[in-house]
């Protein structure tokens, strides 16, 4: 995208019918570090890549618990993400206080989307520069939504946002058909594989990624580092090619062994999914 005379404020349309400020906000999401989500009928898993500015600093928190039954992973301007998380927590708590019942995640997502839309139609505001993957449970089951700076929201079986998310999306596209029936642990495994795709050869360790799970009978919780590292070791995927089912090969990192016997091969070079 290049600068043009219609991109100064959000309330200016371009002749082609675009709002450039909103599109620039979505660019900010694409530049943030990756976040992915996937769901089965009963569980939703969120995972994200944590990058620290330097070795001296801590990692940015990109996954937030909103309520026992809802959590969110963000990509983009983390500060905007924190503010929106606080709004979501507030809405959940108020609903719970009035109705003694958890706020249905579909309603929270619509409220969030309407809040984002306001910022696309006021000349004194700017769009939120953050994309949110909202994972939650309600009476109709497990849900995963993506909320966009434009005020749009979509429901997904699996999705990835942020930088190099295309690699994760490609992996998820190969696997998503079996997600509804997956067990919780298989979902977590697939999340780790998807994160590894975005790392493009870097070693996958628990210091680089964060995993969170919510499901029927399991309140939203972020897995601690030891658990994640144990899972990574167990699946023996730190540098290896992803085996399709279990029975992994060696432990040694870095080497790209071609192990995929069954569903592996055909995925590369497929049409890119809609990049919103």
């Amino acid at each position: 995208m290049f600068r043009n005379q219609y991109d100064t404020d959000v309330t200016t349309w371009s002749p082609a019918g675009r709002l450039f400020q909103v599109e620039y906000a979505m660019e900010a999401v694409k530049q943030g570090s990756a976040a992915i989500g996937l769901r089965s009928k009963t569980h939703v898993v969120l995972a994200c890549v944590n990058k620290a500015n330097s070795e001296l600093s801590s990692h940015q928190r990109k996954i937030f618990k909103v309520d026992d039954h809802i959590g969110v992973a963000i990509a983009g301007l983390t500060a905007d993400g924190r503010v929106l998380s606080r709004y979501m927590r507030s809405e959940c708590i108020n609903y719970g206080y009035t109705y003694e019942s958890p706020l249905p995640v579909g309603r929270l997502v619509v409220q969030l989307a309407d809040k984002a839309q306001v910022c696309t139609q006021r000349s004194w505001k700017r769009p939120y520069g953050v994309g949110l993957l909202v994972a939650g449970l309600d009476e109709s089951g497990a849900h995963l939504y993506y909320n966009c700076p434009s005020g749009n929201y979509f429901e997904y079986q699996a999705f990835a946002i942020g930088s190099r998310s295309q690699a994760a999306k490609t992996y998820l596209e190969r696997k998503f058909e079996k997600f509804p029936e997956s067990s919780r642990d298989d979902l977590v495994k697939d999340a780790l594989f998807a994160i590894r795709e975005t790392l493009q050869g870097e070693k996958l360790t628990s210091s680089v990624c964060t995993i969170a799970v919510v499901g029927v009978g399991e309140a939203f919780n972020i897995l601690d580092q030891e658990t994640v590292q144990a899972l990574i070791n167990e699946f023996e995927i730190s540098g290896e090619e992803a085996p399709t089912n279990e029975s992994a090969a060696e432990q040694a990192g870095g080497d790209a062994d071609s192990a995929p016997d069954q569903s592996g091969a055909a995925a590369e070079g497929e049409a890119a999914p809609m990049d919103i």
Binding site: Y97, T98, Y99, E100, G106, V110, D138, E139, S140
Partner: protein, 236 residues
């Protein structure tokens, strides 16, 4: 009239109820909830109105019964209509169940109480959602309960003891109605504001039905009524 704490432009405050309904009784039974209420609206000690419907549907899953000030119940119905309207406008497959309605009303009643402007009612909310039966009550000061059998007003003193003895988890519809009628008959004998015209409402997963008004048979032929002055000559 001016006082130190209020002025003429003050909001209306219900200090005394005017037209009131008497007890409501509710029980859980095998398939859902049964609730009974008579159709009387008393104006003090006068039984003024005899066709007051005190049992009403709320959304798809709930039933509310009210005792106390009838105009305040009508106000509550307006709040509930708006609540259900907004719930339906989401059009998203989620809906407020009896538990949510009960808690919403608890908040309303308690907040009004804190402003010294209560809605002068005792409410019973019952319903079934996703197979779960729910029955609860809220008073005018926001005190709320949940139980297998609920009553308001005189029903607490005259009906609950019967229910404590005879209520069971697996009552059939007929048994439940008989039990409620036994309680309502007792109230008819002993509660001065009871009238002999009642409705019974049933709510199950399938839906709600409110019966047509009907009367209970009563028995007055007690031996003690034959010669009432036999132990006290000269009295009447």
């Amino acid at each position: 009239m001016d006082t130190l704490l209020s002025s003429e432009g003050d909001s209306q405050r219900t200090q005394y109820p005017y037209v009131t309904g008497t007890s409501i009784i509710g029980i859980k039974y095998k398939d859902g909830i049964l609730m009974a209420a008579d159709m009387g609206g008393s104006y003090g000690s006068t039984i003024r109105y005899k066709s007051v419907e005190r049992l009403k549907q709320v959304g798809k899953h709930s039933l509310i019964g009210a005792s106390g000030e009838i105009s305040d119940f009508q106000e509550i119905q307006k709040y509930l209509d708006e609540l259900i309207l907004h719930d339906n406008m989401w059009d998203d497959g989620n809906s407020l169940g009896p538990k949510e309605v009960h808690n919403y009303l608890t908040r309303v009643m308690y907040n009004r109480r804190n402003k010294f402007d209560p809605l002068w009612n005792s409410l019973v909310i019952g319903g079934v959602k996703n197979g779960q039966k729910y029955l609860g009550s809220v008073s005018m000061i926001g005190v709320h309960f949940e139980d297998d059998h609920i009553a308001t007003g005189f029903g607490n003193h005259l009906a609950r003891p019967i229910l404590r003895e005879e209520w069971r988890e697996d009552l059939s519809f007929e048994e439940g109605v008989k039990l409620l009628e036994k309680c309502m008959r007792n109230l008819l004998y002993r509660d001065r504001s009871a009238v002999n015209k009642l409705q019974i409402a049933k709510i199950t997963e399938e839906g709600l039905t409110v019966s047509q008004p009907y009367s209970l048979k009563t028995f007055w032929n007690f031996a003690a009524f034959q010669n009432p002055t036999v132990g006290a000559e000269g009295s009447w």
